[in-house]
């Protein structure tokens, strides 16, 4: 009996110990000008030119700026540059730099810094760092030159009027070697600290040329998993969490409000057009018709999200071909007929394997619904979950797959979304080959008239849909939890987490 007592006393004292502590480690006071944002992916680099993960760009958006930067409505607004002049033939861009822009280390931004930064991203430095991710879209640049202290001229190898969308690449100080450990940029927030797997902390940059942000300090807390992050949200240790699942959104407490926007992704079941059964267009079309996209949205996202019909998402505005959304409607009978025509029936069913990256729960859930829907028309789909690096090697680079589900993002240029379907594009992992498409794509990219561009890009999307290059599903909804003491969370047509726009709720 005595031992029982000892045990109970021990446990009680331990509980008491942390009970007293519970009160002490409280939440941020409601008047404090700081916020904790939960993110679920560690940063892959602090050097903006070395970071490739969308989750990193999203955070670094607060610290770095390019010559121009994306705005909420999808246009590009001046940042480090004050003005840009695109030559009428689309062969050169002349930037006038904004005066008085300072780096976080106190130095003025010079034309040399701009030239260095652009060259670094375009792979034009004489001594390149192999870790720098060279932007393939910037490979059309032939020269970057300083014209005078306030002007930089970019000359191209071929006409391109959409380059501006890629010139959001960060401007960084020339030959600064500590970018990966103590990043220095020009954005509204400057770097304070970074601890792997723990947090990335930034503070307001007092000498920022633009509007002063309200929040003085922002902590991006790196959470181990979506579930762990949600627990912390419920407990109040996180103020903003941008990756809610539908289920979590329905469990939000009163302290938070739900903001719904678009993810700006093309989620599709991508088909390897060279896999024998998929070489026949009618098979691919049948697969498009057998999908009940609304049901997918209902099951995986509570009906939220936007159904798409081609390789583009609605936030591309005028370039987006909305008619494609309804090009294939749910017609399982017709799908069966098409399959029968291609030689697939009950005795010889169409079977294929779908490789899905296991770290994306959302894609996995979508895949499971698809498998069931295809079963209804007698198509057997084998689901294979693979690790992300394996997906990169086998599916994306090796093109060794039959079908896969993933979401693709894009820079703010319509050409960036659809260029992967050009026959020779390195990102053409669906192996789509069409001479008509290639010709039209080149025309679209070089066109200097916006009306023409709009027509061409809409036609390109139509081609992809008619040829059923893949089974396009949706632009998933982005569900963001924001503590009610804040307002002003803004959605962008690109993947960013803008903390400068957050204001207190009055």
């Amino acid at each position: 009996m005595k031992k029982h007592a000892v045990l109970v006393a021990l446990l009680l004292s331990l509980t008491a110990l942390c009970a007293c502590n519970g009160g002490k480690t409280g939440k941020n006071g409601s008047d404090s000008r700081s916020a904790v944002v939960g993110i679920t992916q560690d940063l892959d680099s602090l050097d903006p030119h070395k970071a490739v993960a969308a989750g990193t760009d999203e955070v670094l958006f607060n610290v770095f700026e390019g010559l121009v930067k994306p705005s909420v409505d999808g246009t590009l607004v001046p940042a480090v540059a004050e003005d840009v002049e695109i030559a009428p033939d689309g062969m050169s861009y002349t930037f006038t730099l904004r005066e008085g822009v300072k780096f976080h280390n106190g130095a003025d931004v010079t034309a040399e810094d701009v030239v260095y930064s652009i060259k670094r991203c375009a792979g034009l430095l004489s001594d390149p760092d192999p870790e720098v991710k060279v932007s393939s879209a910037l490979s059309v640049i032939s020269a970057v030159e300083k014209k005078n202290a306030g002007t930089v001229v970019i000359t191209l190898k071929e006409a391109n009027t959409e380059l501006l969308g890629f010139l959001t690449v960060a401007i960084i100080p020339e030959n600064y070697t500590e970018q990966s450990t103590k990043p220095v940029g020009t954005g509204p927030y400057r770097f304070v600290s970074y601890e792997p797997l723990t947090s990335f902390v930034v503070e307001r940059f007092p000498e920022y040329y633009g509007e002063t942000p309200y929040l003085e300090k922002v902590t991006f807390k790196i959470c181990a998993s979506n579930d762990a992050a949600f627990m912390e949200l419920l407990a109040g240790t996180i103020d903003i969490f941008p990756y809610l699942t539908e289920e979590q959104a329905s469990q939000l407490t009163d302290e938070y409000k739900l903001e719904v926007g678009a993810s700006n992704l093309v989620q599709a079941m991508f088909l390897n057009n060279e896999f024998a059964p998929f070489t026949k267009p009618e098979v691919r079309q049948a697969l498009c018709m057998a999908v009940d996209k609304q049901e997918i949205l209902n099951i995986v996202a509570g009906g939220k999200g936007n159904i798409i019909g081609s390789n583009m998402f609605p936030n591309f505005g005028v370039y987006y071909n909305k008619d494609m959304e309804t090009y294939y409607t749910y017609q399982p009978e017709k799908a069966k007929e098409l399959l029968a025509k291609a030689g697939y029936n009950e005795s010889n069913p169409l079977t294929f394997t779908m490789k899905v990256p296991s770290n994306y729960d959302f894609h996995v859930a979508t895949a499971q619904v698809l498998v069931e829907q295809y079963k209804k028309i007698g198509v057997e789909v084998k689901l294979q979950l693979i690790e992300w690096p394996t997906w990169l090697t086998d599916v994306y680079r090796g093109r060794d797959y039959e079908a896969t589900i993933v979401g693709l993002d894009a820079a703010l240029a319509p050409s960036d979304v659809v260029r992967r379907y050009r026959s020779d594009a390195s990102g053409n992992f669906v192996n789509y080959k069409s001479d008509a498409y290639d010709a039209l794509f080149d025309k679209a990219k070089a066109s200097v008239s916006n009306e023409e561009k709009i027509t061409y890009y809409k036609q390109l999307q139509e081609m992809l849909t008619k040829d059923a290059a893949s089974v396009y599903l949706q632009d998933p909804a982005k569900l963001v939890a924001v503590n009610k003491r804040f307002t002003g969370y803004r959605f962008y047509p690109v993947y960013v987490l803008d903390m400068a726009s957050i204001r207190p709720e009055k």
């Binding site: 031992k3 029982h4 000892v6 045990l7 021990l10 331990l14 509980t15 110990l17 942390c18 009970a19 007293c20 502590n21 519970g22 002490k24 480690t25 409280g26 939440k27 560690d42 892959d44 680099s45 070395k50 490739v52 993960a53 792979g123 192999p130 870790e131 991710k133 060279v134 932007s135 393939s136 450990t181 601890e195 792997p196 797997l197 807390k221 790196i222 959470c223 181990a224 998993s225 579930d227 762990a228 992050a229 627990m231 912390e232 419920l234 407990a235 109040g236 240790t237 996180i238 690790e387 992300w388 690096p389 394996t390 990169l392 090697t393 086998d394 994306y396 680079r397 390195s426 990102g427």
Partner: protein, 313 residues
């Protein structure tokens, strides 16, 4: 003396083999650091250039030997993912994992030894069925589930602790103890169930041995039989078991670290594998190997102290 020489040699050989197997494993699994680092848009040339810089293109034996040469000097290279030295990276994660390990080990020992002894003495009496059910339940609950339930009940509903509010022990020791109680419990509870079972069986086995009858017949009471004779013998297998438990939690509780958002060695290992961050993975595997072997030694020593018969072997 010869014993120690043999043991140390065994440690070195095991480390060499473990390091080599890690190299082999990364040869076999798809993708590498250069590819994961450069992402979707990279060209083949860019990937090759980075491979060259990271030294991934050198032949396997050469890489292995140069790794060994550096490792002997205590240099485990730089993390490809974080760009910092592996030592620094691991050092930063160590306090979390060590704290969790010792805390949960303390709980395991403090709870399961008294419980095991208590239950063995009651063997056959009423209430043991319920007790068996309890230990069974403790063993059956998966740690991640337990972690989530504890967070939900004590963190969200009763607000005994704040999920995610980890503080390093150096900053606020009691805050650390308070927060870590729950991850430590999640690690400890299943192990407590096992240890209690283990101890109970071991005690019951000993209690039916001949020497117990002898002791009883020479007039020892139940208490003296248990504390003076049986316990010492019964503890030998339990100590071996506990050393395995300790090794397991020292190597990082990947699952519990995920659930409670602790940035310990286990989480670092999981992240490093998915980024193909070889230098980090290798260092963690070598660390875990060393821990297992060292704890093996310790349990050897403990058993020798408990049972002189082992010393002769």
């Amino acid at each position: 003396m010869r014993y120690w020489v043999k043991k140390t040699a065994a440690l070195l050989v095991t480390l060499l083999v473990a390091a080599f197997l890690t190299f082999l494993a990364f040869e076999v699994i798809p993708s590498d650091a250069a590819m994961t680092k450069l992402g979707l848009d990279a060209t083949e040339e860019e990937i090759q250039a980075l491979r060259e810089q990271l030294g991934l293109n050198r032949p396997l034996p050469l890489r292995y030997l140069s790794f060994l040469a550096d490792a002997v000097r205590g240099d485990f290279g730089n993390s490809t993912q974080y760009g910092r030295s592996v030592g620094e990276l691991l050092g930063g994660r160590m306090p979390v994992t060590l704290g969790l390990a010792f805390y949960s080990f303390f709980l395991i020992v403090a709870v399961s030894l008294p419980l095991g002894i208590l239950s063995a003495r009651k063997h056959g009496s009423h209430g043991n069925g319920g007790f068996a059910l309890l230990t069974q339940l403790m063993m059956a609950v998966p740690p991640f589930f337990l972690g989530m339930i504890l967070t939900l009940v004590f963190g969200i509903i009763f607000k005994v602790f704040t999920p995610g509010a980890y503080v390093p022990a150096g900053e606020d020791f009691f805050g650390f103890l308070g927060f870590m109680l729950f991850p430590a419990l999640s690690v400890a509870i299943p192990k407590i169930g096992m240890t209690v079972r283990f101890l109970q069986n071991s005690l019951n086995e000993q209690l039916t041995a001949d020497y117990v009858r002898t002791a009883k017949s020479k007039g020892c009471n139940r208490r003296r039989v248990l504390w003076g004779h049986v316990l010492r013998n019964a503890l030998v297998p339990v100590v071996t078991f506990l050393s395995m438990v300790m090794a397991e939690i020292l190597a990082g509780s990947i699952v519990i670290e995920q659930v409670f958002n602790l940035s310990g060695v286990g989480r670092l290992l999981a992240v490093s594998i998915s980024h193909r961050d070889y230098p980090v993975v290798r260092a963690i595997i070598l660390y875990a190997t060393t821990v297992v072997i060292l704890l093996n030694y310790l349990s050897d020593i403990a058993c020798r102290m408990l049972d002189p018969r082992i010393r002769q072997i």
